[in-house]
Subunit: 413 residues, 2 copies
């Protein structure tokens, strides 16, 4: 088992609807980097009793407890007090720390306010972590089984203090194991179906840990292995990945975490081929996603947003009779849109999307969620009918994903 850490972010502002604790992201990355796993993150307001309660629980179960924030000079900065109470230790005034704070103010030509003396109280037995970038020093308390670190909240103070003062102490106390990760992406399969296929493999392993995330039809598979050596961690990853990947076949499109639009873009750039789009219900989201990638102008020529039947005819040359015969949400129109875009832009490939994103619209035969994606290629044109779940936003997101996946498979990726 790896060493486990909890992060406690202190501050009532972090319990409002507008603000989220982001310091923990930095801390998590740093901790993972030395083989320490974050198992819990807690946000508590500026409330002495609640915070002390949280610290007491955390120290009772995890080897490392990192607190951020609440070290300022005001009444509602309660971290020092609360941790002292939780650990049953005294707070001791430190003349030395006070002098350092006073010197810092003096260096800006200012006088230390009386309230800043609060920042010179130190938990008995704690090491003071000098913070040259702010007035509040950090504190490091080693209780034997556990360590508790109190760090200032401003990221510009927290980050260097943690890297310079805490990481070396953690390494010295807990050693450090090697951590290696793999990151695959798959599409064209539901999350539940995918899990059913690979769970029999990954549930047999506690190491590596497997995490599956899905969004708009894009499924991320993360593996994380810990071992005494990097080679051993890689071997564990090979063992599990070597069983999972064959089960998923060509649904896996990325073995390094690169998203669909990047994989497609790289292939097109390499082959000196180009892409255009013709969008109806997605209204630009497909082009928007293709152009998320910096440098996409190397292969993306542009396209057409044809939101009305009239525009499909005027801009893409889709015959009005074809629309009349099949409706705009049909395989025939999806094919004609793709061909029209390909011809008019001179691109090698053109993707099209036409469908009912809802909430209104749709027919008995083609209800809301019905989307046709088309692909015109140098030699041929193809189209597919999809039935997509969810609300307007999800249907549009799935439609974009399916269109890109159609191209990905055509490119043999």
């Amino acid at each position: 088992m790896s060493t486990e850490a909890e992060i406690i972010a202190v501050g009532s502002e972090l319990l409002t609807a507008g603000k989220v604790d982001t310091n923990s992201l930095f801390l998590t990355g740093e901790l993972n980097g030395i083989g320490i796993e974050v198992v819990r993150k807690i946000v508590v307001g500026d409330d002495r009793a609640r915070l002390a309660d949280s610290v007491r629980s955390a120290v009772g179960r995890s080897a490392i407890v990192i607190l951020t924030g609440g070290l300022g000079p005001t009444e509602d900065d309660v971290t020092r007090d609360a941790v002292a109470a939780a650990l049953d230790r005294e707070l001791v005034f430190s003349e030395e720390v006070c002098n350092a704070i006073r010197a810092r103010f003096r260096s800006f030509g200012r006088r230390m306010a009386e309230v800043n003396k609060r920042q010179a109280f130190v938990i008995a037995g704690a090491e003071v972590l000098a913070n040259p970038r702010g007035t509040a020093p950090g504190l490091w308390v080693d209780t034997g089984p556990a360590v508790v670190a109190l760090l200032p909240g401003p990221p510009g103070e927290l980050m260097p203090l943690f890297a310079e003062e805490c990481i070396p102490r953690l390494r010295a106390k807990f050693g450090s194991r090697a951590i290696r990760t793999r990151f695959f992406r798959a599409t064209g399969i539901g999350e539940g179906d995918l899990d059913q296929i690979i769970a029999p493999v990954y549930t047999r392993y506690r190491n590596p840990v497997t995490t599956i995330l899905a969004s708009s039809g894009d499924i991320q598979i993360h593996l994380r292995a810990q071992a005494d050596s990097e080679a051993e961690a890689e071997r564990l990853l090979d063992e599990v990945a070597g069983q999972i990947l064959p089960l998923l076949g060509d649904n896996v499109y990325s073995r390094d975490g690169a998203p669909l639009e990047v994989m497609i873009g790289n292939a097109l750039r390499e082959r000196r081929q180009t892409l255009s789009v013709a969008e109806s219900c997605t209204g630009g989201l497909l082009g928007g996603r293709v152009t998320v990638v910096p440098g996409s102008s190397d292969y993306f020529r542009g396209g057409f947003l044809t939101y009305t039947d009239e525009m499909k005819t005027a801009l893409l040359g889709v015959p009005a009779e074809l629309i009349a015969a099949h409706t705009a949400v049909s395989e025939a129109v999806a094919r004609a849109m793709a061909e029209g875009a390909r011809q008019r832009t001179g691109a090698d490939y053109a993707l099209s999307v036409t469908g009912y994103a809802g909430p209104g619209g749709g027919t008995a035969e083609n209800p809301v969620g019905t989307v046709f994606v088309g692909l015109a290629m140098p030699e041929s044109t193809t189209a597919r009918r999809l039935r997509l779940p969810g609300d307007r936003e999800r249907i549009r997101g799935f439609a974009v994903q399916n269109a890109l996946d159609m191209l990905r498979r055509a490119l043999g990726l």
Copy 2:
């Protein structure tokens, strides 16, 4: 004292360095809106024992415990199990829930995977909260002193489920003081500048509470007043809004929270006018945002994604000489793009965007972040040069916002 809530976000991915729990922001806003305070937020991984431990502690001290995530069909979805264990209740298979899940799959022409049956287990005594937007239903457990809600993690499922199913139940159980809110939106001004202008007003009031949120140049101003009567809460809101709004002038575009694309859409529909777009660096995001609005086909005709110089000439008729003389990122080309789109679509208005979204590109005179937005109208054409901050994603988001704001002001909204 107000009623207290804790939020527990479940998911190992929320304990990685790349991902932060944002559902809690929405939940906090909603809970605050009915007078309930969030006193603790916890993130736990997909670990049954740790989660059960967190739930047990939370239920022991707070009246309301809301869990998000971990309701999926896979092995690592442990929320149902862990809460059942923490509350010492059984998990019971529900034929009814299973049938609903199966019917949902069938409606997409798919078969339910065997693993999805896991989602049909219900904590004994819990109410099932139907989730028409996903397979995992929510669960609502009333233990007498406390309530525990289990909600799906995807925001598109969580948000409506919470608003529709949980808010009424919380109101019924915990009563609530009269709470009234106002929700304004502003744009065309920086968040910091806006705050500097109105902070002297709102900081004088603890009631209503004022919250300011900004995203891609769109600023939301929320006021929330609590009082013994609705009339008194409204009076408090009038008092503060009556001072804030005049300070912000025509930067305020919405007094009911309706976003920019909705305000514009409503005006165009009412006036029976139409819109088209011509996008370069935004690649479809402007069209994508216009068509976020259901029924936008009433006024959005479509547009052109012209990602290369050649396409600007071929699809929009921008003279190659004009591009050669001014470069594609210029006021002249922005105007020509807008006029080309307006002419070719027959729309009353056409918006254009051309710029350097980065990270590559740009010139000494027009570095990355330089974007021109153009607007062709029945009587005239106009264009504006913008210098936008941030990375590629932010620049593109700001560009879309600025283009829409240009149209908003032209429409006199």
